[in-house]
């Protein structure tokens, strides 16, 4: 119903003909209309359009040429498609667990009571995560420099010949992994907020029952922060599947495609080779992978995520 049709049905006083609830609903839809338009124009429309593009061969200059599912069947034989998928999965398996465990450990450290310098320390932990972007990567490229970098320079001092990090196909992905861990503070802050929600009496009860710090961590803290772990897990996986800037700036996918992330490959197909049809197909495959992974995790959540009756207001 648009305001016009409403007005047409109401001869004298259009607003008064509507019930109070009807007016409220109308206002609601008016208020959210920018979002609805944006959803159609910038999200749903493009997703639908990209499915059509994915069935075509198209360089943006000439008219798209319908080729059916050929873009999808081409992927099966595309060595670089599989390589980019492998790199992304490898990185996800490497990064996500360390991010969750490292972030939780950092949060536990940040949650210690009675430490005077805590504010400063928290700031230091969190600061690098706001710097993401090209500068963040450039700094690490310098730290990882094979001969003059701080890391290998320091290793050389104690007589160790450091790896060539970003320049070696066997270590480049691990170097990107170490680099990303510098932004761990962000995850830690989310965990810290989760830790602060654990009701204090539970710890007191546990300690009265004779539980030590270790035992109360496993029996009280961990079950109660599973919603936060869950949230971070979903966020983290979606983020690793979108890795682009670090790979583009630090290695440009190399050496020997060892850091050819999925989105980097997608970017190349779209904006360097102008294979819009193939790029759209790659985007759809990414969409389906992320959708399935998210659903899988959401499903698994019913098994291990603990929702307190009160917390789930």
């Amino acid at each position: 119903m648009t305001p016009e049709t409403l007005a047409a049905n109401a001869p004298a006083h259009p607003a008064r003909r509507l019930s109070l609830a009807g007016r409220e609903a109308l206002t609601f839809y008016l208020c959210i209309s920018p979002w609805l338009v944006g959803l159609l124009v910038f999200t749903l429309g493009p997703i639908a359009a990209s499915f059509w593009y994915s069935l075509t061969r198209w360089d943006l200059l000439s008219a798209p040429q319908f080729i059916g599912l050929r873009n999808y069947t081409h992927m099966v034989d595309d060595r670089l498609f599989w390589q980019s998928l492998r790199v992304t999965l490898h990185y996800t398996l490497l990064y996500v667990p360390t991010e969750l465990i490292g972030g939780l450990i950092l949060a536990l450290l940040m949650n210690q009571r009675g430490i005077r310098s805590m504010r400063v320390v928290r700031t230091i932990y969190y600061l690098p995560s706001v710097l993401s972007g090209v500068a963040f990567v450039v700094v690490w490229m310098w730290l990882f420099h094979p001969t003059a970098g701080l890391i290998n320079g320091t290793l050389a001092r104690v007589g160790i010949v450091g790896p060539r990090w970003l320049a070696d196909p066997n270590t480049a992905l691990y170097a990107l992994w170490i680099m990303s861990l510098w932004g761990l503070g962000r995850t830690a802050v989310i965990f810290l907020a989760g830790l602060k929600q654990v009701p204090q009496p539970l710890y007191e009860a546990a300690s009265m029952d004779g539980a030590g710090a270790w035992r109360s961590f496993w029996s009280v803290t961990l079950p109660l922060i599973t919603p936060t772990i869950f949230f971070n897990l979903v966020l983290s996986i979606i983020a690793t599947f979108q890795t682009f800037t670090s790979a583009f700036v630090a290695t440009n996918g190399g050496p020997l495609d060892s850091t050819l992330f999925y989105v980097l490959y997608l970017y190349r197909q779209a904006f360097q080779y102008f294979a819009m049809g193939y790029a759209a197909a790659l985007a759809w495959v990414l969409f389906v992978i992320i959708l399935l992974l998210t659903l899988l995790i959401l499903r698994s959540g019913t098994w291990w995520v603990f929702y307190d009756g009160e917390a789930a207001q």
Partner: protein, 280 residues
């Protein structure tokens, strides 16, 4: 007995503090090394073993690095984009979030679920068709592809503001409504003043996002005079690959606004991040 407990308590505190600072040092090293390298003359930068202090610090690095390429221009370009995005998000997200928080309408909950679902939609999925759309509109090499969508709301900020609005007691609005205030008046006079901390978080996050964003500017801004700081820095890196002192100086200046903002608004940063993780 009491003394022993005190002693172990103190020992524990000392150990924890040492651990905290040990880890903090690890987080600090890259930034300190960036600062140190940015002040080194070229012949000191490749010294092995690496030394921490430039002797003497060469401040000219900054002037030279920032004038080889028009970094002032990149700075202005980035600031304009960030500012427009902030205005867009504040205008659109407040209105949308208020509606989701307070106005009852059939279909509201279902639409909110759709909103949350779009939170999980990765940008690369819509990257290609959006480029096609903006290309057709003639928006390539303008800031519009980066800025215009901000005026149509952003799921995360709508979610964040909605949570905040729901926490404000309804009594204030009821009183105002009895006095005859309309929706926009209520929003402007009552909700917004109360929601200032949340609005600050939205503004700060948007600023940080716009300042650091790389992929979207890379796709849409191809002319050098339109470059943002991240594009300029990347261009600088590919052109002066071995001049690490200049690169560090340029990098440091690039991130400085975010660092300064962070020190002034740490609370807003931290609370904004925490909202997603706990309220749900």
């Amino acid at each position: 007995m009491i003394r022993a407990a005190f002693a172990t308590g103190r020992l524990r505190r000392v150990l924890v503090t040492a651990l905290l600072w040990g880890v903090a040092l690890l987080f600090l090293v890259p930034m300190l090394w960036m600062l140190s390298s940015s002040l080194k003359p070229n012949y000191q930068i490749f010294e092995t073993p690496p030394r921490w202090l430039p002797r003497p610090p060469r401040w000219e690095n900054y002037r030279e690095a920032l004038t080889i390429l028009p970094f002032a221009r990149y700075f202005i370009n980035t600031a304009v984009i960030a500012l427009l995005m902030i205005v867009g998000h504040l205008l659109s997200c407040t209105l949308i979030a208020y509606a989701f928080a307070r106005l009852r309408a059939p279909g509201r909950e279902a639409l909110f679920v759709v909103l949350l679902a779009t939170l999980m939609l990765p940008y690369p999925v819509t990257m290609v068709p959006l480029y096609v759309l903006f290309n057709r509109l003639g928006w390539i090499n303008t800031v519009l592809p980066l800025v215009a969508p901000a005026f149509f709301g952003a799921a995360f900020y709508i979610f964040l503001l909605r949570q905040f609005f729901r926490g404000i007691p309804a009594d204030f609005e009821d009183a105002a409504r009895i006095d005859g205030a309309n929706l926009l008046q209520i929003l402007w006079r009552i909700m917004l003043p109360l929601a200032l901390p949340a609005l600050a978080t939205v503004a700060i996050f948007t600023f940080q996002y716009a300042w650091n964003d790389f992929l979207a500017p890379l796709i849409y801004l191809q002319r050098p005079e339109l470059y943002t700081l991240t594009l300029g820095l990347q261009f600088f890196r590919t052109t002066y690959t071995t001049n690490w002192a200049y690169l560090m100086a340029a990098s440091l200046v690039t991130v400085l606004p975010v660092i300064i903002l962070f020190f002034f608004a740490q609370k807003a940063f931290v609370e904004g991040i925490a909202v997603g993780g706990v309220n749900k």
